[in-house]
Symmetry: C3
Subunit: 423 residues, 3 copies
């Protein structure tokens, strides 16, 4: 079985669970993740103040349906948890079709799909269904039932740390609050879990802190409880919607010039990078997605299912994450210990013995580039970008030169995180 197929199995296991920002669905999800990695589960009481927000009451559903006057369930939570608007309050009532329709959400432009709707912070209830189903409902009286509890309880999130050698951290975060939506975000949970497991096998420079948290309120809660820790975060990545056929997309952090920030522009809407990148924290956290949120029609609908997410795309994302780790781990600035003229590479066995050939061999080019820019002010990533060479090649050249005593690691620049003194 390929890594991609294993990831898809994990997505399929997570898919049926009714998750929301609180409740047993989150706990079941974290339990499954716990089979992959050792997870520390946190429970934060309803009512806890977290910055401008308050941890909400906990929501759990036993059953929910709409039935016609013959008692037949025409909309049924048991068939798909998307049918119930998330955080619907308990209700049991009869009503005519016209009144019912004011509580029904559909997607007229995709008549066969069921939308995903939430009402976390405004008390209410509602059902979601396909336009075709609603259009086919005959006039008459209907009975609605939401057998749910919305009561003081807890907000639940999971945390996992892969140990590194320095006291600096890389944050990897994914949200665990969406119900049966495969790409958004069973895919992110699966890739993050597997990434954590793979990193455990490596000797690492950074600690890697993995967060499995409900969106928005979860990251806000984590930040409120960990303000003293954010100064250690050097890089961060939010993983979401990473299993669809779209191309990999990286969204820059607010800073826009952080190491992880060299692909696309930052926009303030999106996933939890909004909280990590709010101006009071300004952490170097970007977001890795495939199809960007809301850019694919299946987004937040029943069509975001196990067919949309494919093993090969999950695997591609995992490999991209590992590549990012590779660069973050190896990226450093060096100083050339022999800065006046080039050192003689040949006498150290680092240069081809026969000259006169076109001598454009990339390995030698990479060494010359590293030597030239090793002034403490250019990282290997800078060198790779300026030289137009693969990062791996440049890192390998630097290692060879360091091994030959020609380079030394530059003293790290002063910590520049504005959050370092926060809290």
């Amino acid at each position: 079985m390929t890594a991609g197929q294993e990831l898809h199995e994990l997505v399929a296991e997570l898919y049926p669970i009714c998750r929301s920002i609180t409740g047993d669905g989150v706990r079941q999800t974290l339990e499954i993740v716990g089979h992959e990695i050792d997870l520390e589960v946190h429970e934060v009481p309803s009512g806890t103040q977290v910055f401008d927000w308050t941890v909400p009451r906990e929501w759990n559903v036993r059953d929910a349906w709409v039935a016609d006057d013959s008692g037949r369930r025409v909309i049924d939570f048991q068939a798909s948890n998307l049918h119930l608007m998330s955080y619907s309050v308990p209700v049991r009532a009869w009503m005519p079709l016209a009144e019912l329709k004011r509580r029904l959400y559909t997607l007229p432009e995709y008549p066969d799909w069921v939308p995903y709707r939430t009402s976390y912070y405004a008390e209410g209830w509602g059902f979601c269904a396909s336009q075709r189903l609603v259009d086919g409902l005959p006039d008459g009286e209907y009975e609605v039932c939401v057998d749910a509890t919305l009561a003081d309880g807890h907000l639940t999130y999971g945390e996992h740390l892969v140990q590194g050698q320095t006291d600096e951290e890389v944050l990897v975060s994914c949200h665990v609050c969406h119900p049966s939506l495969a790409n958004d975000n069973c895919s992110g949970i699966a890739v993050a879990s597997r990434l954590a497991r793979l990193l455990a096998e490596r000797r690492l420079r950074y600690h890697y802190r993995f967060l499995f948290i409900p969106g928005t309120i979860g990251s806000i809660t984590w930040l409120a409880r960990n303000e003293e820790r954010v100064g250690r975060i050097r890089h961060g990545l939010v993983l979401a919607c990473v299993g669809d056929p779209g191309l990999l997309t990286y969204k820059r952090s607010r800073r826009g010039d952080a190491e992880v920030d060299r692909v696309v522009d930052f926009t303030p809407y999106g996933y939890d990078e909004r909280q990590f990148c709010s101006p009071g924290f300004d952490l170097p956290v970007g977001c890795l997605t495939r199809s960007s949120y809301a850019d694919y029609p299946q987004y937040h609908t029943s069509a975001d299912d196990l067919d949309l997410v494919r093993p090969e795309h999950l695997q591609d994302t995992l490999e991209a994450c590992l590549e990012v780790v590779e660069v973050l781990e190896a990226n450093r600035s060096y100083v050339n210990l022999n800065p006046k003229c080039e050192p003689q590479l040949g006498k150290r066995g680092l240069y081809g013995a026969i000259g006169g050939r076109s001598d454009t061999q990339q390995r030698q080019m990479a060494m010359l580039w590293v030597l030239n820019l090793a002034d403490g002010g250019h990282s290997l990533l800078d060198v790779a970008e300026r030289a137009g060479l693969a990062f791996g090649l440049v890192a390998e050249a630097a290692a060879a030169l360091e091994g030959a005593g020609l380079l030394a690691i530059a003293r790290p620049a002063a910590v520049d995180s504005p959050a370092a003194g926060a809290g």
Copy 2:
């Protein structure tokens, strides 16, 4: 009647007057402007030293013509004031055609058009005519007459102030020294007058100072007499050639990065922005035109007439000016009073209650952008540019957030005008 039609009527009223850098034509022009707005008229004596220049003698024309030996006027100032080179000294003489031709200016490439020529600072005289007319003149003796006075008098300019609430100013300047040229610059005079009248009806942050001045010597004279005032100028706009069908063009100030400077490059030639932007003042003054000077063939010819200037283009320029005012008035930097994580917009009624929808509504996006960049270092214009959103939408979002107590206006940055300490 549309605003454009009203502007065109004003242009038509200004068009026939024989203006130059001094003289009664300027006074008549300012009198017409005075019907629109309350104008303070200044008279500066000939011989007054203004920086490197001297206010010239005043020039006034009663009549001017070239007649053939039968006494028939073949070139006649009464038919068009363009026929006489501006600042021609008095003359009355007979001469053969060959000698006369050395005093005649034509446009061979546009044989039916009469060029506009001046000789302000080199004493002389001349006539302008169409190439076709000159080609048709039979050999023979001609009589020339310039019945003009060039004598000590005054340089005249007008000034109008629309009051604002702070002590900072926006300068709006146009030149009033061109004779029967409709686009250059009856159009600028008309738009500036109307803009001043419209601003009087508004509650404004800035004072708006309108100058109606002869080109070059007028702006130099105004600057020489108002050095102590230039430190208050925050923004400025020169209006010229604003009624032709060309697209609106904005020329940056010398600084190149002033607020009003985000469209095109600065070039040192042009209108009075050259003086406002000379390195000793370096004011943030740009220039708004439609067809840029000398970029349309009718420029400085008799074809720059009332047909070239159209009501719809005048109106479009006026609306653009009002939009610029809108942005200048509303552009500020804010600080997010809740910088750690996003504030909860929903509990303040600023966010749609039902979540899960694609949630890309521009208004909510604008609020998230403003919150994210409200660190005192980004103006609303910065936010609009980075977000790719309309300025109005961003300003409205900021107002809503300020109303909810989530934003405060940042303390203004220190005045950076190098002219602040001048004079």
Copy 3:
């Protein structure tokens, strides 16, 4: 005879000599250059330590060949010095074809061309030949002979100084170590020699120091012996491959923003600019070539011959060098002595007397640009770039304005060369 034809004759005279990084070929080359200009020849003993390198033993060849068993020379150094790998150690031996082939270098992709190979720092020997010749060799025994000496001696280089008026220097360097390769680098030697001769006829601001040195080890040796001098170098140019039909290409210095650095990107491989631009010196030295090294197929092969190099291209390069000198000599920053508003150019005879014309005459535009940017912070090159005007026009305008007392030369900025305090 055109300048280009004269340069081509000089290239043809240099072409047959067997040059290497040391030896009599370099001395003969410098002797020919000595007919053009007065050359100071330096001899540096083998074994001298120069930074990380050691001056190698001197190599001289009397004869070298491969003969078949009938005694017929099948590969002959006398026919072309490219046939012998540079720095081959002496050998005389019989061997079968298979063993011989391990010592033969060919270019399979260009079966008629002979490659150029060296083995300066790894002791060995070898021959270079066309693939077609090697393919035609019948089996059998062959005799090889390298009648050469590799022994303590000297590294030879030449230096020539054209005097200027300040104590600042421009470095012009070319390599003299390649055997019969016309473009790389007889062309560079010829253009540098002629440039030096032409500059001697001029009154110059800078000293121009010309180096005729073996590649890499030569520039390293020169830098090691002249560390106290590098602080005076304001600009530098390496000339190589300047006679082929490729377009002129300029490679920026490491700094990337030096005055001579406004055309293309810097890459760390190439000619001796690598040494001058190593981080310990970081001199503002770029490299002027036509086809960039290794970018033309004839590079380092027998096809880099007297047909590849054309008189018109040599002349074009020489003219480009003179233009660079023109700009370096004239480029300065000025301060406007009349910074408030424009000065009145007309009363100083610097402005056309008749106004109203389109007035876009470039000369007047250049004067307005220079006046506007003459704030001590913009050089004439900055002005020319921003104005989109020819440098010569801008320099002429500045001279006219300086002559009229409107400009003064700005005090030069502090020396910014990090090498100023080196050594």
